[in-house]
């Protein structure tokens, strides 16, 4: 009986020990960025044309825009490849300064993190294999739709699931794995951001975008809620890039057309 109490007390104590360091680690940073002179950016680098890895180098619209922002702020940029479904917890636990990963600004996400001013508009789209008979979301009855886990694509698919009669929504860790499944006929369609679907379909040539699903979403740069100083600097830099034409240059380079005027 005595030794059971001892075990219980030790057990309780070990739990408490885990808890105390956790509390201590939740402090916010004192400067603007975690490392002085460097902006670290968490990103799911399997999302072309926004971010992808070319060898060991990250490239993409987000990457270039982030580099320009960092330059405007007078600091350097470091891209930290992060799994998409841990990207927000990573920001909250200060693994990086910002999230720039084609992340749509949503009300739910705003409860977790702050967002910069929107830096690009986007919509969802329906993507199918080249030989598919599916022409729009009306043809999804009994079909399997692939999405990237925890994206606005998943949200959209779930929204229309009952009305469109979607048989199953398969969630993938990265959108590129979903594309592999689509090309092999394991799933019937993908609902995902329009620019990405267009880019990947064009590059790999086995799929096509059949419908733009208008959601009028906007991407923003995620910043830790406690770091209002950094948020301000980023917004300022972003506006500066719009004003001096750098934004237009980068946009045109990646999307072959001028950005829509506000």
């Amino acid at each position: 009986m005595r030794s059971n109490w001892t075990k219980a007390a030790i057990g309780l104590l070990l739990v408490a020990l885990f808890v105390v360091p956790m509390a201590a680690g939740c402090g916010s940073t004192s400067g603007e960025t975690l490392t002085k002179g460097k902006l670290t950016m968490g990103s799911d680098t399997s999302y072309p044309p926004f971010e992808t890895m070319e060898g060991s180098k990250p490239v993409g619209f987000d990457v270039e825009l982030a580099q320009a922002i960092a330059k405007k702020m007078g600091i350097t940029l470091e891209v930290i490849s992060t799994a998409w479904d841990g990207i927000i917890p990573g920001l909250k636990t200060n693994k990086y300064d910002v999230i720039m990963s084609a992340m749509t600004i949503t009300a739910d996400r705003k409860k977790q993190i702050s967002f910069s001013d929107p830096y690009i508009d986007s919509n969802q789209s329906l993507c199918v294999a080249n030989n598919s008979a599916i022409k729009s979301t009306k043809d999804l009855n009994g079909k399997v739709v692939g999405v990237q886990i925890d994206t606005t694509g998943q949200t959209k698919a779930e929204e229309i699931q009952t009305s469109a009669g979607i048989k199953e929504i398969q969630k993938f860790d990265t959108i590129l794995v979903a594309f592999e499944a689509l090309e092999q006929g394991k799933i019937d369609a993908i609902i995902n951001d329009y620019p990405v679907n267009m880019y990947v379909s064009g590059k790999r040539g086995k799929t096509k975008v059949v419908e733009t699903i208008k959601t009028n979403e906007q991407y923003g740069i995620g910043v830790n809620m406690t770091n209002t100083k950094l948020l301000g600097s980023i917004n300022k830099a972003l506006q500066g890039l719009r004003d001096d034409g750098t934004y237009t240059t980068i946009y045109t380079k990646w999307f072959r057309s001028a950005p829509p005027t506000e």
Binding site: I10, D85, D150
Partner: protein
């Protein structure tokens, strides 16, 4: 009408026949640590008090030293010290950052919504493990027998299979089965791909375990049954394997526990088992609570299983 045998020293009146015992140093240390543990050094003192008390008691059992009472007191003080510390931390829980911890790991709203979903998905986890295990036990044994075969080709093929599979990460094998075999015309579903990949992988490991078990059966058994006129297969089937199987049950049971955990990897080809649902919950609820649920479901199965394996080991070793 005999009194208690004086040699046993059972009656209290016999104590005087012994010299007054020295007091165990450990017991004294335990009591001191206990006092310090309640007053000055809560955690370290209390832990040391309990540890010293245990050492003291073992020592007292072994030798003639006294001090059992002191050790008990030290241990009790240590426990009290820990409890006081725990209570103190509980009070600290009112502090914001600890509230944040509970909110992130054990969020009540999230538990109510996501843990049932995770639980249902865990049924898929179990199904995947059990179905795979059925095939693994059979294929593993076949591969082991091939590996031990007199025919050189069989031996070589089995060895290549075992080496290649054991040399590749399981997650890679899952992807190859699901996405790679497509180019050979095999388009398995996610569940089937999971079963196939897990079977291929674990059969290789279990083949080696079977082989070790078979080889551990004394050669004399095989020789004796051969000399009785049985063929190689008959000897295997009726004499060697029954004994070998008993020996390999504990390691194979451990492999099954590992298999149960490895089913989580099938999440990466999109199968809705517990881990994938937990990740989805983590994104939607924006806290870690769903994954904590996944962890608890796994422990609910793996920990009893581990104790079960230990029980099996004890039971089986009695027969040897």
């Amino acid at each position: 009408m005999d009194g208690p045998d004086p040699g046993l020293g059972l009656g209290a009146e016999n104590i005087s026949e012994f010299e007054k015992p020295d007091v165990s140093g450990w017991a004294k240390a335990s009591l001191i640590m206990g006092i310090l543990g309640v007053t000055v050094f809560p955690f370290v003192g209390a832990i040391l008090a309990i540890v010293f008390a245990r050492i003291a008691k073992k020592q007292i059992l072994r030798t003639d030293l006294g001090g059992d009472g002191l050790a008990t007191a030290g241990q009790a003080l240590g426990v009290v010290g820990l409890l006081l510390l725990a209570i103190g931390i509980f009070i600290l829980i009112r502090h914001e950052s600890l509230k944040a911890f509970v909110n992130d790991f054990f969020n009540w709203e999230t538990i109510k919504f996501w843990w049932p979903k995770v639980g249902r998905a865990f049924l898929t986890t179990l199904k995947l493990a059990v179905v795979s295990e059925f095939f693994i036990l059979i294929v593993g044994l076949l591969v082991a027998l091939l590996r031990l075969s007199k025919v050189k080709t069989f031996r070589v093929l089995a060895t290549i299979y075992i080496d290649v599979i054991r040399g590749l990460p399981l997650i890679l094998q899952i992807f190859i089965v699901y996405f790679g075999l497509f180019y050979l015309g095999l388009n398995f579903s996610r569940f089937t791909s999971g079963v196939v990949a897990l079977t291929l992988c674990y059969s290789a490991y279990e083949a080696e375990i079977y082989r070790a078990g078979i080889e551990s059966i004394h050669k004399g058994q095989m020789e004796a049954s051969r000399s009785l006129g049985m063929t190689y297969m008959q000897s295997m089937r009726y004499v060697v394997l029954p004994q070998a199987i008993r020996r390999v049950i504990p390691p194979l049971s451990n492999e099954f526990i590992m298999l149960t955990k490895d089913t989580a990897l099938v999440a990466f080809i999109g199968l809705s088992e517990a881990f994938l649902v937990g990740k989805e919950g983590m994104g939607k609820a924006a806290n870690v609570t769903p994954l904590v649920g996944v962890a608890l479901f796994f422990l609910l199965v793996t920990i009893p299983a581990m104790r079960g394996v230990q029980y099996l080991e004890n039971r089986l070793s009695k027969g040897d």
